[in-house]
Amino acid sequence: MSLLESLRFTRGDTPIHNMDPRVKFLLTMVFFATSVMFLEIVPLAIVFVIQVPLVVYAKVTGEWLKSIRGASFIAAIIFVTNLASFYYFRGGVLTYGILEYSMALTLRFIVLVTSFSIFFLTTSPDKLSLALEKARIPYEFNFAFITAIRFVPVLADEAQTIMDAQRSRGLELDKGSFIARVRKYIPILLPLIINSIRRSLELAEAMESRAFGATEKRTNLYELRMTGFDYGVLAMIVLSIILLVYLKLYFPGFPKLLGEGVIL
C-alpha cells in the first residue's frame, strides 16, 4: 500500500514538474527500456546514476525514498530468491558472478520503481489527462480518470468515518476467526457502496447542470505547449535511443565488476 501511496502526485514548480507530460513519459519509457534490455550491472547503475539527480532536482527526494522503502521488501525477495535458486541449480556453488547477477536484477527493479516514481510524483493528473486527450483518447474516458483521482481522498475519508461509526456501535474488527473477521467488513462495505451509488447519482445531476457534453468541440483551460527545455530533453532522448540500439547490437558486453571467483 505504501508503495502505491508514495506514487501520489506532489505539487511543485520545478523544470521536471513543468516538463511536457508526453516528453516525460517518453523519458520514463527510455529508462524502462534500458533496464529491460540490459542484464549487466554497469548500464543499470548508469541509469540509476542519471535518475537520482533528477529526483533531487524535482525536489521529491523524500517521497522517492518512501517509495523505495515500500519497494525494499520486494527487492529483498528478488535478491534472495535469485541468489538462492542459482546457488541451488549450479550445484551448490556460490560465485561472484551469481552475486553480481542477483544484484543487477535487484537494481533493475529499483530503477523501474524510480522511473515510475519520477513520472507519477511530478505529473499532475490534469496534465496527464491533457496528454491522453492529445493522444485522441475519448474525453469520457479522460473525465472518468480525473474524477476517480479526485474522489480518492473523499472516499478514504468516508471509509474512515464509516469505520469509526461502526466501531462506536461495538464492532470489533480485529477479533474472531478469519471468516468472522471478513464478515465484519460487511457493515463497513455496505454503507460505502450505497453512499457511492447515491453519490454517483448526485454527480450525474451536477454534471448535467454544468452542461456536460454540450458541444463536441470542448475547449480546455490548460494547454500543452512544448518549451525549449522540452525539445532539449527530446533531443537527448533521441540520442540515447540511438546509443542504446548501438550498444545492444554492436557492443561486445559490459565488464563484470566482481569477476567469477567462488565465494562458497
Binding site: 468515518t161 466501531r167 462506536s168 452542461a211
Partner: protein, 578 residues
C-alpha cells in the same frame, strides 16, 4: 416579465405512488431573491430539479403541466441548454466538484460549452472575485474547507453566467459565520447583477434577512407565498412546522398584545428601531443580574465523567487538529460544543469513546484512561451518534439495524428484544420496524441511527450535528427528547452550529477554535460575549442581538429565546405605560 413560469406542474417519481408535486403554479420575476421552505419531504427539492429540466429528463416519472425558464420550455430544451440559464447548486459540495484545482473546476462548465481559453480566464477572474476566492485559484480542491468548497460551487456556476441560481441548503454544513458569508455572496450577486436567486434553507433567522419573498411548500403544493412578514404572520403557516424567524415571531406576538407595528421586522436592528419609541428612553439602572445566581447553582457539581487534560492530536500529514484541550464534563451535564469548521470539535468527541487516542495528554472517562481501554468497552458508556446516518445504516430492516450494536455487545436474545422494543417506541419508529432503513426519509434515517445507539442505554450520549438537515418540527422534537434524556440523569454532549437550537435548549457551551477551547460557560454567559463568539465564527442569536441593543435602555442583556424576550418586553412596556 416573468423569468420562471410554472403552470399546473405535477410530478410523480418513478416507482412511487404518491405525487411529489401537485398542481404548482408560480410566477417569478427577474431579480427576485426567494426562499423556498416547508417541512421535509414537502417537494421543494423536487421543484428545484424541475427548473433546469432534470425533471423530467434525468428522472423519468410522470410530469404534467409546463415549466418555462427564461422563455424556454424545460420539456423541449435539453438540460445543457437550460443549464446556461439556471445554475443548480446542490447540498453537498463534494459531489459537484470535478476538478483537482479550483480554477480548473470553475472552468469545467465553460469547457463543456466550448468557450475559448482567453474568455475562460476572464470568467474565472470574475467568478472568483465575486465569491471571494481569488486567493485559492491554484489550490487543490480537496484541501479546501467546507465554506470554501461551497463558495467554489457558486463560482463554478456563476462563471456560466446563469440568469437564475438555485441552491439547495447551501449552508447545512457551515458554521454561522461561514453561512453568513455565503448569504453575503448571494445577496451581492442578486443586487449587483440582478441574478434571480431561489434558495432552500432551514436557517430561517439568517435567510429571512436577505430574501424578499418566501414560498412555502407542503405536501407537494404551494401553501403560502409572500413577503417574510406576510408569510410568517399567518397562523396556519406556523402550525406547519416551518420555523419562524425568532425576531419576527417576537414582533408578531408583541403586535398581538397591542403594540403598534405596521410591518413585522425580520432583523434585530429593524425591530429595535420599531421598539425604540415605546421603551423608556432614559437609561435606568440595569436590573439586578440574576444570571450570576445561575452560575452559582451550577457550582454544585456532580462528579466528573469526562476529563480531557492537555490533549494534542494531529492527523497524519495534516495540521494540528487539537492543540492542548482541557475540558471537564460532569455527570448529568448538557453540553454543546460550538465553533468554526475545522476547530477540532469532531476530533475531540472521537476521543471520548477511544476512536482516537490522545498523542499527548490524557482523556479519562469515569476516571479510566481511554488509552488503555478498547473502543467497544468505552462505547458501552459513551454512545456516539455520527452526523451522517448514511455512514452507519446497512441492515435489511430497522429492527435489525437497532439490534446490531446489542449483538456486538453480547446482550442475550430476550434482552435484545426488549431493548429494541424500547428504542423503537422512544423514537416513534414502531411502524417502520420491518422496513429497510434505506427507504426512509432523511429525518427518519437520523432517528434510526439515534435509536441504534440509545438501544444499549449508554450513560453518556454524544451527538455530532444532530440538527443538520432537520426541519423545524424535527428539531423541536429533538430538543424535547434531549431534555428528557437529561432529566433521566444522562450526560448529553452535542456538537452543533445551530445557534437557535442552542438558544432554545440552553446547554452549557464550550467554544472551540483552532484546536483549543476558547471559552466555557452557561449559554447566557457565552451568547452575550460577541467578541468571543466571533473569534470562534459563531454568531449571536438574533434575539440576543436585539437585547444587546436594548440593554442601553436598562433591559437585561442575556436573553436568548423568544418566550423570555416576550415576557420581559411586555413587562417593560407595561411599566413604561404607567
Amino acid at each position: 416579465m416573468t423569468i420562471i413560469e410554472v403552470r399546473g406542474l405535477s410530478y410523480t417519481y418513478p416507482h412511487s405512488s404518491k405525487p411529489a408535486l401537485r398542481d404548482v403554479n408560480l410566477d417569478i420575476d427577474p431579480g427576485e431573491f426567494i426562499l423556498l421552505t416547508g417541512p421535509s419531504g414537502c417537494g421543494k427539492t423536487t421543484f428545484c430539479r424541475a427548473l433546469n429540466g432534470l425533471i423530467p429528463k434525468f428522472y423519468s416519472g410522470e410530469m404534467k403541466g409546463t415549466v418555462k425558464v427564461a422563455g424556454l420550455d424545460t420539456r423541449e430544451n435539453p438540460i445543457m441548454r437550460l443549464a446556461q440559464c439556471v445554475g443548480l447548486i446542490f447540498q453537498n459540495p463534494d459531489n459537484q466538484i470535478f476538478a483537482l484545482t479550483v480554477e480548473k473546476d470553475i472552468a469545467f462548465g465553460l469547457e463543456n460549452l466550448g468557450v475559448p481559453k482567453e474568455q475562460m480566464l476572464k470568467e474565472i477572474d470574475w467568478a472568483t472575485e465575486n465569491t471571494g476566492i481569488q486567493a485559492l485559484r491554484q489550490r487543490a480542491t480537496h484541501e479546501l474547507s467546507g465554506g470554501q468548497k461551497q463558495r467554489l460551487t457558486i463560482a463554478s456556476i456563476l462563471a456560466m453566467h446563469p440568469q437564475i441560481i438555485v441552491m439547495d441548503e447551501p449552508t447545512a454544513f457551515l458554521d454561522p459565520v461561514g453561512a453568513e458569508r455565503i448569504f453575503g455572496v448571494l445577496g451581492k450577486l442578486n443586487e449587483e447583477y440582478g441574478i434571480t436567486i431561489l434558495l432552500i434553507e432551514h436557517r430561517m433567522d439568517l435567510a429571512s434577512k436577505y430574501v424578499d419573498r418566501i414560498i412555502v411548500f407542503d405536501g407537494g403544493g404551494v401553501v403560502s407565498d409572500g413577503t417574510p412578514s406576510d408569510v410568517f404572520g399567518d397562523e396556519s403557516i406556523r402550525l406547519l412546522g416551518v420555523g419562524t424567524p425568532r425576531v419576527l415571531e417576537l414582533a408578531r406576538r408583541l403586535k398581538a398584545k397591542g403594540l403598534r407595528l405596521d410591518k413585522l421586522p425580520v432583523s434585530a436592528g429593524a425591530l429595535y428601531e420599531s421598539l425604540k419609541p415605546y421603551i423608556s428612553v432614559t437609561r435606568s439602572e440595569p436590573a439586578s443580574d440574576m444570571s450570576s445566581l445561575d452560575s452559582y447553582a451550577g457550582e454544585f457539581h456532580h462528579k466528573p465523567v469526562i476529563q480531557v487534560k492537555g490533549v494534542h492530536f494531529t492527523y497524519p500529514g495534516k495540521v494540528k487538529a487539537l492543540n492542548g484541550v482541557d475540558l471537564t464534563i460532569h455527570h448529568g451535564d448538557f453540553v454543546a460544543i460550538m465553533g468554526e469548521n475545522g476547530a477540532g470539535k469532531t476530533t475531540l468527541v472521537k476521543h471520548f469513546n477511544g476512536l482516537l487516542r490522545p498523542q499527548t495528554g490524557k482523556v479519562l472517562v469515569d476516571d479510566v484512561d481511554v488509552s488503555s481501554t478498547s473502543v467497544a468497552e468505552l462505547s458501552r458508556r459513551v454512545g456516539l451518534v455520527f452526523q451522517n446516518s448514511d455512514d452507519q445504516l446497512f441492515e435489511e430492516t430497522v429492527e435489525k439495524e437497532i439490534s446490531f450494536a446489542l449483538r456486538n455487545f453480547g446482550f442475550s436474545e430476550p434482552v435484545i428484544g426488549k431493548r429494541v422494543e424500547w428504542a423503537l417506541n422512544l423514537l416513534d419508529l414502531g411502524e417502520y420496524r420491518d422496513k429497510s432503513p434505506f427507504t426512509l426519509s432523511g429525518g427518519e434515517r437520523k432517528r434510526v441511527a439515534l435509536a441504534s445507539v440509545l438501544a444499549w442505554d449508554p450513560d453518556i450520549l454524544v451527538l455530532d450535528e444532530p440538527t443538520v438537515g432537520q426541519d423545524y418540527g424535527q428539531k423541536e422534537r429533538l430538543r424535547h427528547f434531549l431534555k428528557q434524556l437529561q432529566t433521566q440523569g444522562k450526560t448529553v454532549v452535542i456538537v452543533t452550529h445551530d445557534v437557535e437550537f442552542v438558544a432554545e435548549s440552553q446547554p452549557r457551551i464550550v467554544l472551540m477554535a483552532r484546536g483549543q477551547v476558547m471559552g466555557e460557560g452557561s449559554a447566557k454567559e457565552i451568547m452575550t460575549c460577541p467578541e468571543k463568539l466571533s473569534e470562534c465564527s459563531v454568531a449571536q442569536p438574533e434575539i440576543t442581538r436585539l437585547f444587546g441593543m436594548l440593554s442601553a435602555h436598562g433591559l437585561p442583556r442575556d436573553v436568548l429565546d423568544v418566550n423570555e424576550a416576550y415576557d420581559i418586553l411586555v413587562r417593560h412596556l407595561k411599566e413604561v405605560e404607567r
